[in-house]
Symmetry: C2
Subunit: 345 residues, 2 copies
């Protein structure tokens, strides 16, 4: 089945991507340094938009760059694109074909901005519209639900960030990701048993914060695409501002709680959900305190820096969605109502 093999081949793909695109990332970083770039303007949809959420935190924290997540309809329907003075314009798309994302890059070019595409298709309209290309090098992705192209998109963003800082330690961290991924994939059998408990679950919320805000969104998207569960992603802070009211005893809450700067705030939320509300918890973490609160704990390596954890913490989430799809008796390769390439304006 393509979906399972695409999940499984991620360590190898990421290793090759690093070898193949590091020099290109360094060339792009040099060009960014040559220009007066004040902020990043990023256009993406679906899974690629979740890679954009990672870029928002990573380029902010590591490179001091604020990031605008583009509203493509301003370019397509309203035909009133904003002034993009001093912006680096980035488009992320597996296929490189969605017309709305291409039109954001075209406008960036028209306004004289530096433009960068991150795509699996070097001959796509998106790649052809941009000054620079970072190629995902993920091989053809056959399953409709994106998995290996998502981690490849995160990797491209992380390589760009490392190249901008030009930090050996960051590059060493990136080289370790395939190993961390392999360790994590070993939980496959455990996950395939754990999902049975959720055979009849029809809704959940997925919490993440900081770098792993992206992971919460992507886990939720996989659950929606594959298992048709209503899964709504939140930062734990936004969740506290209203939506927590939905949760009652036994309500399933999924959470990504990697060690790092936001861990304490996630732990506090998990304690509140477990002790005060008796929620059901599925937790991806590398901290025993968070794992011990969960009915289903999913482990990620303990020696991983927080900024790289989204590349690894999404793997148990992908496996969880895959096995739950099987448990529910749905088609893992061809979800209803969606196609591999969605072309929106």
């Amino acid at each position: 089945m393509p979906l399972f093999s695409e999940i499984s081949e991620q360590p190898e793909r990421i290793k090759n991507l690093l070898a193949s695109q590091r020099k290109q990332a360094e060339r792009i970083a040099a060009e960014i340094r040559n220009r007066e770039i004040d902020y990043v303007f990023l256009a993406a949809r679906g899974t690629s938009d979740n890679a954009g959420r990672y870029a928002n935190y990573l380029l902010g924290a590591m490179n001091g760059l604020p990031l605008v997540l583009a509203a493509p309809s301003l370019f397509t329907y309203y035909k009133k694109p904003p002034r993009l003075k001093s912006a680096l314009v980035i488009g992320i798309s597996q296929s490189g074909k969605s017309p709305d994302i291409v039109s954001v890059l075209e406008e960036g070019r028209r306004q004289g901005c530096l433009t960068l595409s991150i795509t699996n298709e070097p001959d796509s309209p998106l790649a052809q519209t941009s000054d620079f290309l970072l190629e995902l090098k993920a091989g053809a992705e056959k399953a409709v639900a994106a998995t290996k192209t998502y981690t490849a998109e995160l990797m491209c963003v992380a390589m760009l960030s490392a190249a901008l800082v030009n930090d050996k330690k960051m590059w060493a961290g990136l080289a370790n990701i395939p190993d961390w991924m392999r360790q994590t994939l070993r939980q496959n059998d455990l996950i395939s048993e754990s999902v049975q408990r959720y055979r009849y679950m029809d809704q959940t919320v997925v919490l993440g914060r900081g770098f792993n805000y992206s992971t919460a969104f992507e886990w939720a998207l996989k659950l929606k695409e594959l298992t048709y569960i209503i899964a709504e992603p939140y930062s734990s802070a936004d969740f506290a501002h209203g939506p927590i009211a939905m949760v009652e005893s036994g309500y399933p809450v999924f959470a990504v709680a990697a060690k790092g700067k936001v861990f304490d705030s996630m732990l506090e939320m998990l304690k509140r959900l477990r002790s005060d509300i008796s929620a059901e918890l599925v937790v991806i973490s590398n901290d025993k305190r968070a794992l011990s609160l969960a009915q289903v704990p999913l482990k990620i390596p303990t020696d991983m820096p927080e900024w790289l954890s989204p590349l690894v913490s999404i793997l148990p989430a992908q496996l969880f969605a895959y096995h739950l799809t099987l448990a529910k008796g749905y088609n893992t390769e061809q979800p209803r109502s969606i196609r591999k390439v969605t072309e929106t304006k």
Copy 2:
């Protein structure tokens, strides 16, 4: 009951707000023109974040300003705020008390940016941290679910946009909002009957696009806070990129489809949902074609320009959430697990 009277008093509050804050909006616009502002950096949470979504489209389309929705944790937990060179920094908060929003404004000041707060509390930490203040003038909001402060926040954003363009026609449109609101509120009895059909609904998605992307988010938030329904908001384009897979025959979809540039794309999605999937539709619109597709059509005035429609289209959504809360037998004034002022870091 405070919630119902706060919904009902919105026309009067908006009228007073326009009279009270127009001059201040013009002073702020003059100062913005004096500076080299390349983009807006906006921090908000919950309902105020939805007002930020409106600002994203409005300041983009009318004023050419790209908008960054801040990731507050970069300022609080990571302590790595991005460089805010050439940004106008805006904080929106009803109470003006959330420490994370205040710390974004503090950092903006530290970096020498022009700062603006939009709040109901002129003596709040947020107001005291900013160069300029637009006051919501909404009177005390007693219900935990925000209604009148939301439309007041939208109005402040709209006044700022009009002042920056300095366009008489825009100001005339703003002066018309109280009348459009009054017309819309007349559907109260109809809505209180319509909600009965949804007494046992436990999940839905809420679609909106362009200017009314904000309305979809705010309608969904009211449903979550008050009725504990899982209500997930989407742009119709993002919805097509995966989540539409969740929808099966009879599944309830709520939509905001005001006439304007994105109307045709919303209509196409509504037709697809009704004809291909047999979804159940609740539609807020001022176009007969969209209303005729709905099991429950909720009308808004036909002579309203799209850019102002979010100020009016949220009213039937607020009434819908209010009456559905009563129909479900829940407390409209004090939802479980949340408080009026949520202080997050």
